[in-house]
Point group: C2
Chain length 190, copies 2
């Protein structure tokens, strides 16, 4: 008997990775089991249904994001540094086997995933937007960012564009992703 927490965490890690690589309909319990060297039923023991597994992955992601943004390491950064940190999350995904944003992956397949997952995705997306909006707002007030319109709309545009850019990079290469990030920064220049 190995430690509970390790098995469960390893499954979540693999599921998260597969979600961002192949999509929810693109991986199966058999893939996870094979990779871990266990049987299918072992995965069902920890996560009875695929919906349970998907929900757990997103819930963990949400918790992690909340922890990050409330950590002084991020909280005390300047708006520009906060934005750079934000972009670096996506740059890291691109570097990590060309993964895409969890939210984008699930929203592309939104109408063929369980409802419980849809609700979880909605929650995560709102949290990402809210933080980005606050960061853009703070940056404009302190005069380091410049843009027209509502911070909420600018946040929606920037988040959509990095989400889309990670997908674009799969067909057109990493350079295209970097171009989008650079353009997004350029469009905030005072």
């Amino acid at each position: 008997m190995v430690k509970i927490e390790n098995s469960k965490r390893t499954i979540l890690n693999l599921a998260e990775s597969l979600l961002q690589d192949k999509g929810f309909n693109g991986f199966s319990y058999a893939h996870i089991a094979a990779e871990l060297g266990v049987k299918n039923a072992a995965i069902h023991y920890h996560f009875p249904s695929k919906e349970d597994l998907g929900r757990a992955v997103i819930q963990r992601y949400r918790d992690r994001f909340k922890l990050w943004i409330n950590n002084t390491r991020v909280k005390d950064l300047s708006p520009q540094e906060k934005l750079d940190w934000f972009f670096s999350i996506y740059t890291d995904m691109r570097s990590d086997k060309g993964k895409v944003c969890l939210v984008g992956s699930m929203e592309a397949e939104f109408n063929s995933i369980p409802e419980g997952l849809q609700a979880e995705v909605e929650g995560l997306h709102k949290e990402l937007l809210k933080w980005l909006e606050a960061t853009l707002s703070e940056g404009r007030e302190t005069g380091v960012f410049k843009f027209n319109g509502e911070p909420a709309n600018k946040a929606a545009l920037i988040l959509s564009s990095v989400q889309g850019a990670l997908q674009m990079a799969r067909a057109l290469g990493t350079k295209k992703f970097r171009d989008v990030v650079e353009q997004a920064k350029l469009d905030l220049l005072v």
Copy 2:
């Protein structure tokens, strides 16, 4: 015996719709057959493999886009009108049962679709970008658009953002999609 062209076209219409609704891994030959009131094998008669069907959908989409942009209806428009026409394509997708961009849908599942499809998606994405870049270039030269940096990068950002915004709208509603489009226009204002 019904007409060849009608059957084939009906299958393509349904497949395109399902691709933009559920994703490549989210629909099956059985779905199409049931909807059309025929048997599975009838679909295989027209498109031997699912890869053949997917390729045909994207090839038709590429042909359609080429026809549109070379038609005087679009070719003779002003840069602003061209951009509005471009955005209207995506607005129409959103109105049509919350569909997403074909390219975004396939790129989200890129690593779990056949290689022949990947190549076709790459081609389509390049064509979309090329046209948008030319339109932005023309608009900046004639003084109706204003932006920093390369037109190619601005095109990549705008295309990524509408692609991402259609996905975002599935979780957060149509208003969010419209907000992104308005912000994109605002960011081009002279």
